[in-house]
Amino acid sequence: MKTKIVLFIVAFIVWLGLTWSVELLSLIVGVGVAILVAFLTSDMFTPLRNKTGFVSKVPEFKQPVRYLWFLYYIPVFLWECLKANFDVAYRVGHPDLPINPGIVKVKTQLKTELALTFLANSITLTPGTLSVDVDKEKGYLYVHWINVKDKGVEGATRIVVEKFEKILRRIFE
């Protein structure tokens, strides 16, 4: 029930942002849509027990330090993202197409699903790397790298993962 109420509030805020009007009719429709969304999707957000008995941990959301680290994470991420774009644009524009691709394996210490999702998405949006698959039990990520600098697990981990992992661990774990 708690999940449904939170979802209802979030959906209603998104609705208000999308319509950006306070007319009575649009508010009534918004309440209806938000209730529908909350009921249809609440199953996806409750921590379910899966076949192996693993319960996804819900991180502490009440520590303010986590939000400060998240604020620090945003500019770091945007800067990396911008560098990634200039890098790919350079490779695309270069007449010889200087690419050196391959799929490497990197190790991660992160355990919770939310943290892994953020890590995989950050890897995808940063210089020349694209996460392909994750092995959650052993803590490995498979990453397609447009310019492989190090084929080994440790070297690739140092270059690809470490800068995000330090921050993400402080936010989510």
Partner: protein, 108 residues
């Protein structure tokens, strides 16, 4: 003034989008093409949307543009990840000059 800054963002976004599409044509295999498609097209479209937000300000279309940026940053990498994994599982090979494929080695 706002208009000039907004147009700078929009032009930069269009340039990045162009490079992303050029990459789709020039890169040799699916995985490299995904690299170009996710990075350049994501930041390019975000740039265009941010430019729209700066020009229109806190209006209905400006807020919608900001929400689009949020959804795009969350969904584009997820879609790319699903495409890459699905392609690899169904046997799409890497470019023949690729250095290594650890995913293939660990698949068994």
């Amino acid at each position: 003034m706002n208009e000039i800054i907004g147009y700078i963002f929009i032009v930069a976004g269009v340039v990045f989008d162009f490079f992303g599409c050029l990459g789709l044509v020039r890169f040799p295999d699916l995985y490299n093409r995904l690299q170009a498609a996710t990075k350049c097209v994501t930041i390019g479209t975000c740039g265009i949307m941010f430019g729209v937000f700066i020009i229109t300000g806190l209006s209905p279309s400006g807020i919608k543009a900001l929400l689009i940026i949020l959804f795009l940053i969350l969904t584009a990498p997820t879609a790319a990840h699903a495409l890459a994994r699905g392609a690899h599982k169904s046997g799409v090979k890497l470019w023949e000059k690729s250095i290594c494929d650890k995913y293939e080695e660990d698949a068994d």
